[in-house]
């Protein structure tokens, strides 16, 4: 087991190098390099004349500052060397440490996604079990169809509809649609602050939750249906156990396997959703940071986010494999 985990941890390194290399090459193909963008920014502020000589000089200096004048492989080598000491460099836009920027935004994204994953499991598992034990009944059909529809709903559309109909304007004004807390929330007491924050989170969490909910509920149903047809479930019924015990003790525990292992993969996959949802609701999280970094060609931030989310995904995969072996003694890790 320990040898297996160690082997897998070592395997993460080449995969991570592959991920970062692909991202590095892609963003370095950019026609507008950050030095030129920087110059345009300075011009916009009016601190510079538009004279050619000065411009060229500034571009050169900026390139030298960020090491952009070196060949690509040297840049990549330097980047990798720095990352091994957990130094992701400084942001191009405000010269702050990338890691600091991420550290202040990661908790918000994690908070949203953890709440949402909790809700996904809380709702999906009972629904899935109910569906599977009432297979073919109208309630099962309604749930299955409902979850199918939820699964196909684009999350940005749902976000827009919620903002439109529940977030003010000409329709109901129930939920706030901007940020994660009201202005002046720092001066509130603990309880009002918490309520205010939860109130702000309702709509984004709904948008982040329903897709995973639909997916997991369908998975629970399928997994339960598979198990319920097994011989040992028939045996359990035959020896006169109550239906409750048969379903929860004999069937559900065995159906749980894919549900637990999928959890490790849910968290990283939610990052993609966060990019859209956070930018719609103006939530200062990782998704919004990533989106702004892409708009501003902030290479160090883009690289850091790709690396960190790639790393989290790989760890998630590893945990899911280990969980498999822990939960199912038939599976041996080699």
């Amino acid at each position: 087991m320990q040898a297996y985990i160690l082997k897998r941890l070592l395997q993460i390194i080449p995969t991570l190098l592959g991920i970062t290399l692909i991202t590095f090459v892609i963003i370095q193909m950019a026609p507008g390099n950050p030095a030129v963008l920087k110059l345009q920014m300075l011009k916009g502020q009016g601190t510079l004349g538009a004279r050619g000589a000065t411009s060229a000089q500034i571009i050169k200096q900026t390139e030298a500052l960020y090491g952009l004048d070196k060949p690509l492989y040297v840049q990549y080598y330097r980047w990798v060397k720095r990352v091994f000491t957990l130094n992701f460099g400084d942001s191009y836009t405000d010269h702050r440490k990338v890691l600091d920027k991420i550290a202040e935004r990661l908790p918000i994204t994690l908070e949203l996604n953890l709440i949402s994953i909790f809700l996904v499991y809380l709702i999906a598992i009972p629904c899935g079990i109910y569906s599977s034990t009432h297979e073919g009944a109208w309630a099962d059909k309604a749930l299955t169809l409902g979850f199918f529809i939820l699964y196909s709903l684009p999350n940005f559309w749902v976000a827009m509809l919620l903002i439109m109909f529940l977030g003010g304007g000409s329709f109901w004004d129930i939920f706030p649609v901007y940020g994660i807390s009201s202005i002046g929330s720092q001066t509130m007491g603990v309880l009002p602050w918490l309520l205010d924050r939860l109130w702000h989170m309702v709509l984004p969490v709904v948008c982040l939750t329903y897709g995973g909910l639909a997916y997991l509920s369908r998975l629970t149903r399928a997994s339960m249906l598979e198990v319920i047809r097994e011989d040992y479930v028939r045996t359990a019924r035959a020896k006169g156990l109550s239906e409750r015990v048969v379903i929860f003790k004999h069937a559900f525990r065995n159906a749980l396997l894919p549900l637990v292992t999928i959890m490790a993969l849910l968290l990283p996959s939610m990052f993609g959703g966060s990019v859209i949802i956070e930018s719609i609701f103006s939530i200062p999280g990782m998704g919004q940071l990533g989106f702004q970094a892409l708009l501003g060609r902030d290479f160090p931030v883009i690289m850091a986010i790709t690396t960190i989310s790639g790393f989290l995904t790989l760890i998630g995969l590893l945990i899911s494999d280990i969980l498999y072996a822990v939960l199912d003694p038939r599976i041996k890790l080699e």
Binding site: M29, M160, S170, P268
Partner: protein, 347 residues
């Protein structure tokens, strides 16, 4: 022994006939298939469905097709004047000696500005309202179907090409090729794909061809895995050994003998892939990384609606419905196909 003739055409006797047979039994899947076909029809026939000129014009014994000529008038007949007070598709004109005009369903073209008519809700003339430039939303949505579907099909085509090639080579040859391809698949699956797509579009510039290529190149991994797994199984079978013994080339074995046997799961994931590509394209357009502004796309209309979210519900509801309906339709077809191909049903 002679086969009794009445057996013919009774039970489905080939694999694909059996799949078709089981597919037809699923009502929702068939409904999904109809929706996709209607949408393809709308996309192909868009100029006939939404246009600011009549499709057909008959005057003084002479027939013409104003849609093709492109001129905004024919003699004394000015198309925009004619359409003004005419709610019907077939129009009889009394003036100038009489004429008959056959109009498209929507009498507006997708990029026709009318600033006097901006941001009006659904009404008799603009059935789904107008946007901030006074353009007809329904006309834009009809043309938007072209973008969504062509991105969906081309992107999945690219994904199929890459996925099948890599998966087949990896599964067939094994060894270091397999290791390399499997590693690449793992890397691509670990990259946050949507983030990567935005990154590439941000770098290479928005444009329909870039979007097709990028979605295709980031969406082949599932297909490659299916093909690889099928090839690993198939290459153990006797008929492949027999082919090798007969001296068939690798290319021949892979493409003529193994690939047809591995197509079933590939087809299913291709159908789901179309739904995914449509979703990705509309998300990109929504974020402003989609097709360039004058070109109508569903995500682009939704993204315009962000500025008028206080009241312009028609800009949000209708294009979103179109995206949702097409994604649902392809998912239904994919699910129906997957279930119909399930060998458990063939017992």
């Amino acid at each position: 022994m002679e086969i009794p003739s009445e057996v013919k055409g009774e039970a489905p006797n080939t694999y694909w006939k059996m799949v078709g047979h089981h597919f037809r039994k699923k009502k929702l899947a068939v409904l999904g298939l109809w929706v996709t076909l209607v949408m393809i029809g709308v996309a192909v026939l868009a100029p006939l469905l939404a246009n600011d000129r009549p499709v057909f014009f008959y005057q003084g014994g002479k027939a013409s097709f104003p849609l093709l000529s492109g001129a905004d008038r024919l003699g004394p007949f000015i198309w925009k004047e004619l359409r003004k007070d005419n709610p019907f598709i077939l129009q009889h004109i009394r003036a100038h000696g009489g004429a008959i005009a056959l109009w498209p369903l929507v009498k507006y073209s997708p990029d026709e500005y009318n600033l006097l008519d901006y941001l009006t809700g659904p009404n008799a003339r603009h059935w789904l309202g107008t946007d901030d430039n006074g353009r007809d939303v329904l006309a834009r949505m009809i043309y938007g179907a072209r973008i969504s579907l062509s991105v969906g099909f081309v992107a999945v085509g690219i994904a199929l090409l890459v996925g099948i090639l890599l998966g087949a080579v990896a599964g067939y040859f094994g060894g270091w090729i397999d290791i390399a391809v499997s590693r690449l698949i793992e890397i691509m699956l670990t990259i946050p794909t949507f983030f990567l797509i935005i990154a590439i579009i941000a770098v290479k510039g928005a444009g329909i061809y870039n979007i097709m290529v990028v979605i295709g190149l980031t969406g082949w991994m599932g297909i490659a895995r299916f093909v690889r797994a099928e090839f690993l199984k198939l290459k153990q079978l006797d008929f492949i050994t027999a082919l090798r013994a007969l001296g068939a080339s690798h290319k021949r074995i892979i493409f003529l003998h193994m690939l047809p046997n591995a197509m079933a799961p590939v087809l299913v994931s291709a159908v789901f892939g179309i739904a995914g590509a449509i979703l990705t394209e509309s998300s990109l357009s929504f974020l402003g990384f989609g097709v360039q502004p004058p070109t109508p796309s569903w995500g682009d209309i939704l993204s315009q609606s962000r500025d008028y979210i206080d009241f312009a519900w028609w800009l949000t509801v209708f294009p979103g419905l179109a995206i949702f309906a097409s994604i649902t339709a392809y998912n239904l077809v994919g699910e129906g196909l997957r279930d119909a191909m399930d060998p458990k049903l063939f017992r």
